[in-house]
Symmetry: C2
Subunit: 344 residues, 2 copies
């Protein structure tokens, strides 16, 4: 081993990926899109296949103290399907690998797989393989999802053009506040186990965290209306962070309006309860698994036909950077503070 030591933390997750893949060569003509988007695209004799994979580790990505195994199985599949959808593709197959310590019983794994199968059923996806292994400690989940897309109809992060409308599906910030809620109840429980959790009227945001959905419905609606986004990404790390990815890859800037950000009433209420700004949650809270995409201005009327899609801003030149226009009309620079940053 070399004597130098560079800490991984000095590069950050995206810096590390860039570093490790900087010399990656593509040898097969069928490789259309490699590392660096929500999923890869390979061409197989004219048909295009989308592939994505996610690794989920206990203690890093989930806490079994408040995550039912059924929900965990469901969510583990959904976060991968969400990446397939973010390529404008239809998910078709998954593989599921798990590493388990002897702390897990067969019954516990059955619950996890009930969630996996429920997601397969809901999204019409086939579980076609995987690997099971023992682990020394903790639960390890690795899922790969495969999808299909008509030739050259996949949508990357890099096609946004100046003047395009910035759209987002569903609402934002709920999952982050769901997490705050559960973390608070966990702390109370650890201090006084007799106290019952107080999650009444908070089903929406807790559900956003524990059982998110992939927006396949949006992909299908866009196809139906013949709208092809110029760029797309799913929101796993937070709106600001994902918008920054689109802007960097597309070499554009963006303006987003605070008042246009879709935020659920319950999210607003809980934000007030926690004395956090709801806009900050919408911008930087992650794990909403909504789709962020851009469309040409000419699609404005069609886009407004969907109640599930909000137009939140527009694409500018790269030199103009990323900005948020507040309700007071002030212009603030948008910092791509992801999930982890907010957490720490």
């Amino acid at each position: 081993m070399s004597e130098e030591r560079t800490e991984v933390s000095s590069l950050g997750e995206f810096g590390l990926i860039d570093h490790l893949t900087q010399n990656n060569e593509t040898r097969n003509a069928g490789t259309i899109l490699s590392v660096g988007d929500d999923a890869a695209v390979i061409d197989q004799f004219g048909r295009q296949t989308v592939i994505t994979t996610d690794l989920l580790l206990e203690g890093v990505h989930f806490d079994l103290m408040y995550t039912p195994l059924r929900h965990l199985g469901y969510k583990s599949v959904v976060v991968n399907l969400s990446d397939v959808c973010a390529m404008n593709a239809i998910p078709t197959h998954i593989t599921v690998s798990i590493g388990i310590s002897n702390r897990f019983s067969v019954e516990a794994l059955d619950e996890f797989y009930e969630g996996v199968y429920a997601a397969c059923e809901k999204y019409n996806v086939d579980l076609i393989g995987g690997d099971t292994s023992s682990s020394l400690k903790g639960f390890v989940i690795s899922i790969t999802a495969i999808g299909e897309v008509a030739p050259d109809k996949f949508v990357t992060r890099s096609g946004a053009k100046k003047g395009d409308l910035i759209c987002v599906s569903g609402d934002l910030g709920g999952s982050y506040l769901g997490l705050q809620m559960l973390e608070r109840e966990k702390k109370i429980f650890l201090e006084s186990p007799a106290v019952q959790p107080d999650l009444e009227n908070r089903a929406y945001i807790v559900g956003r965290l524990l059982k998110p959905e992939a927006r396949l419905d949006i992909i299908q609606w866009l196809a139906e209306k013949e709208i092809v986004p110029t760029s797309m990404i799913d929101i796993s790390d937070g709106l600001s962070s994902e918008l920054k990815h689109i802007c960097q890859k597309s070499e554009v800037g963006a303006v987003v309006y605070d008042e246009k950000l879709p935020i659920h009433t319950e999210t607003k209420e809980v934000a007030m309860e926690f004395e956090i700004d709801a806009t900050t949650c919408a911008l930087s809270g992650g794990e909403d698994y909504e789709l962020l995409f851009t469309v040409p201005q000419s699609e404005y009327e069609k886009i407004t036909l969907s109640e599930k899609i909000s137009v939140i801003g527009y694409v500018t030149e790269a030199s103009e950077g990323l900005h948020l226009i507040t309700r007071q009309g002030r212009k603030h620079e948008l910092h791509a503070q992801g999930w982890n940053a907010l957490k720490g």
Copy 2:
């Protein structure tokens, strides 16, 4: 969670997979082969894609005390490519996901990826994606490999017929003895750190463990000679265990001759040194990543043209079970004792 508790160990790895996938439904017409072979096969408008995935965990699958990271990167890719080859397919793409604790530096990851890229180059495979994550403890590796095969030319575990010849590529048992060697040196080192490891003249078996190869050359040779195996599997758990999989799936029995088992001179020497029977190592030692396959008797002459392939026995009726004929002509029942069983 339910109140019953069944230990995973009571089912074993294969029993657990059967249990968890017993109600698995296939929804997509394109799913040709699902859970239960070396890889899955999906049809994409007439072309067939093979997919396989493996999870490798530090302390379970590898020991970083004697596994150079470059070799680990190489091997992690190779074990997946070996599964693709075992379907009679050509590997084309991989995704690599890693989970790392802060004990790993960027330089350490560079070494790991050097091995990953070396395998990609050797096998003409593209790295197209993956995931990086922090882990609380240990190094987690999850790789998915994709390959292609001409329509309906994939080979499963289930096509062996009575009278077929049982063939194996390369030689067996080396990797298991390489592991014994390294475990012995580790123990000596931990007791007396000043003692230098004594691995002289043991490069072959240590190499078999640390830097195995996928037998793509065999797949290519079989294609060239127009030999289509009736069944095939790669040897990750040991010859007996893999042969048992073929017999179960094909509903046949098998006879294997001790004297026909290909064993390298160095493997024999080290087996004697450790006072282990070399045949036992060949039958039950895992991680050789050779191909075990069956061909019709009519292919006998063609098969003998390859020095890399040994004919070790023949397929019988299921009712005759699995047997080994010793050098003394005695018939012993073959028990499928895998890698882990031998290890314990």
